[in-house]
Amino acid sequence: MVRGRRFARPKETRRIFMPRLRFSRPYLSLLSACALARAASGAEPPAPEPQPDGEVEIVIRAPPRPQSGAALAPGAAVTVVDADRFAGEAKSAAGLLATSPGVAVTEQGGVGSLTTVSIRGASAGQVKVLLDGVPLNPIAGGGVDLSSIPSQWISRIEVVRGTEGVHHGSGALGGVVNVVTAAPRGQTWSTAGTGGSFGTWQADAQASTGGQEWGLLGSVATTRSAGRFTYVRDDYDPATPDVFERDHNGSSVAGGLLKAFVLAGGGRLDAAAQMSGGQRDLPGTPSNPTPLDWQEDARGIVSARFRRPAYGDVFVTASGSTRVDRVAARLQDLGGIVVRQQGLAGTGSLAADWRGPHGSFEAAVEAGDEQLRADGMGDHSRPTYALALAGDVSALGGRARIGPGVRIERAGAEAGVSAKLGGSLPLAGPVSLRASVGRTYRVPSFAELHLQQGVVAPNPDLRPEVGIGGDGAIVAEGPLGNAAIGAFAALYRDLVVYQSVSFRRLAPENSDKSLVRGVEAEVATVPLRRAAGLNTRFAYTFTDSAALRGREDILGMDLPRMPRHRFYARLGVGGAAADAHAEAQWISRQWLALGHHAEIGDALTLGAGASVRLWRAAGLRLHLEIRNLLNDRTLDDSYGNPLPGRTVLVTIRAGSSNTERP
């Protein structure tokens, strides 16, 4: 018996030809790129005060406290990744998210490639991804492609782990990722250009103006990458070389962002408009390339929020947003035709909140509509309504908090309830204990309910997926940084998976149940604040997952793409004149399918970078970023796609000095 032998290069996805579970990459890309969403109930925090021009004291900060509603909830498991900390390092969203525990990022290739995120074992489609509070999750189905967000816009990313539906509605079984873009920041400007490996070019420009009572920010960004690289695979054929080329893998993304705030009408009005779009080659899998497939997408978001005091300590907030998505893709699996999807979503909300010395309370009502027009699916729409109540009671000067939250929601014919109870308690000095338990669900997507495309059939009888989970952690926060270690468990049931329902036809079914539990730890310290600028960051996740429903050969086995260990470490030194950093990430072995047959081996990747100030007056700075420092060309993503070798990116950035590093 020959176990575990491979005969040729594996592939991560496949053509939908067979009477069995298959997802082609084009489908995933198409669905992920076609995103509609409800508008956000939350919005970005008030803009920070502009800094005075001139010499800037470089202060290496520990990660800031969270800002979004979900992140501020009592007992929430939150990691805030401050992109400004990585300014100039050409970090993608995947690179930023990899610094958080409990998070698994799949970046299927190099710069600009399809990037999805999962949290605590939930799939990419079960993680709510927000852009400035506006959900990006596609109604059509699938996860959000983070590469569609220009990385230059990212100011910080808030990762809220756990069943988080109270603040952001259905769909957040694993958690929430809130990507926060830059805010208007006085009279500032910046521009940058990047060039690097595999034909990668990036450029962005940003300007901000305003003052105490109003602010305006405009930003444009573009990224292009040829994406062509070589990789090494053992094809088990001694007669041929083992070096292959990843071709037809280019991408380009561009976008514009306009944000403003004004103090008027006794309150504050925040508004934002964002447009982005791009084109991406769809290379297929190494063993099943699709050299003619491609995808184009475009997205536009307009959002506004007005907040003012109403009575005493009671504030009212009115907000609304509209989002439009378009995607077109040429898919070999569908006979080489071009398929199109277009979505439109709008939501309005009205909220009142009260914050007192011993607690807070918030109530919000939302209403909206989702529309989708897609080849193979027809025209569909559904109204959405939600009522959310949340509050907390605090004691010990706010150091002890406990707060319940509940959200009652209807999307089309499906109604559901999300709930959460969380709390925190000081233990000793800077050490505290936090814990939360919650329940939420995900309404079946339009694709799952209605998509008839090729061999994929719909199932209008699907039920929502349900997630129940909780966690607890000991947290320490102090002037030298913060640290947390905790455990979590999540039970997912009625999971939707595509199964064969007739000969060469796939349809979604509520058939799976799984348990994911583990330990998360993170440390972020600034031990030598004013000396060498030493700063460190560590994140570790242990995950134990199990399939709880199925035949004997899979029962209790690890879930696919669920490595037991993930470890991230970063060390930085330096100050205003020059700095340097080094990173390491280790991911243990993982499986590509239930049953432990196809394996992705453990992977250690190292990275490093440095920057030097060239001209203080112009804020001119040169950055060097190196990924995959050891040039390991045998690495695969969690779907079996090859990853690029050593990637070198050089960035030159200029701007008003207070935009260098806050």
Binding site: M1, G422, I468, L548
Partner: protein, 510 residues
């Protein structure tokens, strides 16, 4: 602290309540003592978990019965060899005497076994080659509806039940036999190689697995001889030729040549590096040539495999095959359709290739389309346009037969199964006889199928045709000599999963 502790305890209790494991069995199996078993045929759990049949009894349809049709004091006995009931219930052989039945049919107590080939099992004289309760070895009892042939417990039919991940046995009259044999997920191909039944499985939940089923004592069992670790496993077909197994290795678009022990002799790339997966499907042989249908390329590739046995013995180094010809069958499809060649039958010097003939977007037959067979002259490896009676070499099966699925010859007639992919209302379902005895193919009237029947795999065993349904777990019995105009109701032998079953392959028993 107390409140937080309460939260954590509540969380743990809530999670524990929902975290029980649910083992799933095939829909016609039951979970007994933690194992899935067939209550219909398992003598240890006949009709209900723990309901064991008595000694010598078999289980059929959930009822215990005596295969010898004889009971003595309520016990099921074989009067031909039972020393306690030798010849009749009332005769017990004394002392060390054996109970034996002579070649003439006389049963008696004797000091030695008298029948040809008999050996004593205890004090019962039996022929280990044929005795159901001592098949191949003393005490080795065959399962329900199995027969003992050559010292092996076997059945008339073997079915690859794709959805339930099993190989199942049945009698020639379509009665379930034995106990389902679990195999790797997605069994799709069966092929005899010597005394072993090879089973190819490949489904997304598992690996690509080649197993061999052993029938000799101590009992029916399988051995996985080859497991390939590819991210998206897919094998579409298994065939045997000259003692070697040929697998349509669709996940990587190659043809695997494997020994019965699982040694890979060669891996033949069927499309250039960088081209999309050719989706190899059916494989058939004519002499030293292998014909492989490349479904996604609308091609049939012809390989010279004459060196493969030498490769298997180490007398020849790979590559063990050479490409002889490559035929483009796209022009044989209906307008707007792709030909999508699938299974191949070779008889009378011609290869007949079933064409799905589908619209590549909807995977449905285009309007006004017909069923089609490509006809290839294996001497020249060109389309036999004269025999097909068409300019492109396609035999037109008519509008009542859509999406040819399989073909198998019986005498001078080639039978073609048809059934469109347009589920659940299947059009063009049936079995079309094609008279291939003359110089031009003559398509005969269809044996029509119902709208819920999608005839797929066709095998002739002992003069009877058996057709696997692609739309259910049914097997249809088909008598080629009867003048039937419709396909019968069939018998469900493979259980459904998610409301659907698929009889992926049928192999005749030995």
């Amino acid at each position: 602290m107390t409140r937080t502790t309460l939260i954590l305890v509540s969380l743990l209790l809530a999670l524990a309540a929902g975290c029980s494991k649910e083992k799933l069995c095939s829909s016609d199996l039951a979970l007994c003592d933690g194992h899935c078993t067939a209550l219909a045929t398992d003598p240890a759990n006949c009709g209900a978990c723990g309901a064991a049949c008595g000694a010598g009894e078999s289980c059929y349809a959930g009822q215990c019965f005596c295969p010898w049709t004889t009971t003595c004091d309520g016990a099921c006995v074989d009067l031909a060899s039972d020393p306690a009931h030798c010849g009749t219930c009332d005769i017990a052989c004394a002392g060390a005497l054996l109970c034996t039945t002579s070649d003439g049919g006389t049963t008696s107590c004797a000091t030695a076994c008298e029948g040809t080939g008999q050996v004593p099992c205890g004090r019962a004289c039996v022929d280990l080659q044929t005795h159901r309760q001592n098949c191949g070895a003393c005490g080795r009892t065959c399962g329900s509806n199995e027969r003992c042939t050559g010292g092996r417990c076997v059945a008339d039919l073997y079915l690859a039940c794709f959805n339930s991940d099993e190989v199942r046995e049945a009698t020639g009259s379509l009665a379930a036999a034995g106990i389902p044999l679990p195999v790797a997920p997605g069994p799709i191909g069966l092929a005899w190689v010597g005394d072993l039944l090879a089973v190819a499985s490949a489904e997304s939940r598992g690996a690509e697995t080649l197993a061999t089923v052993h029938f000799d004592p101590p009992g029916l069992r399988r051995t996985n001889v080859l497991e390939t670790s590819v991210p998206q496993p897919d094998i579409e077909y298994l065939a045997e030729h000259e003692g070697l197994l040929y697998l349509a290795h669709t996940s990587l678009g190659t043809l695997l040549v494997v020994t019965p022990a699982g040694k890979v002799v060669d891996e033949v790339r069927l499309a250039p590096v960088g081209d999309p997966d050719p989706n190899p499907q059916g494989i058939a042989f004519a002499g030293d040539k292998a014909y492989v249908a490349l479904n996604a390329r609308d091609e049939v590739v012809v390989l010279d495999v004459s060196q493969a046995p030498a490769c298997a013995f180490g007398a020849h180094a790979p590559p063990c095959t050479t490409e002889v010809a490559r035929l483009d069958v796209h022009s044989l499809a209906s307008p707007t359709a792709n030909a999508m060649p699938s299974r191949i039958a070779i008889t009378g010097g011609r290869a007949f290739v079933a064409l799905w003939n589908l619209d590549p977007v909807s995977w449905k037959p285009p309007a006004e389309s017909t069923g089609r067979l490509a006809t290839i002259d294996v001497a020249t490896d060109t389309f036999d346009t004269a025999f097909a009676g068409t300019a492109n070499g396609a035999i037109d099966l008519g509008t009542s037969c859509l999406s040819a699925a399989d073909a198998a010859p019986y005498g001078a007639i080639l039978y073609v199964t048809c059934g469109a992919f347009d589920y659940p209302n299947i059009l063009g379902s049936g079995i079309v006889p094609v008279d291939i005895s003359g110089t031009v193919a003559n398509v005969l009237p269809i044996v029509a199928g119902a709208s819920d029947q999608a005839p797929g795999k066709l095998a002739f065993c002992n003069g009877t045709g058996y057709v696997g349904d692609r739309n259910s777990g049914k097997v249809f019995l088909f008598d080629p000599l009867a003048a039937s105009t419709t396909i019968g109701a069939g018998v469900e032998l493979c259980p459904p999963s998610n409301g659907w079953a698929y009889v992926a392959d049928i192999a005749c028993g030995p």
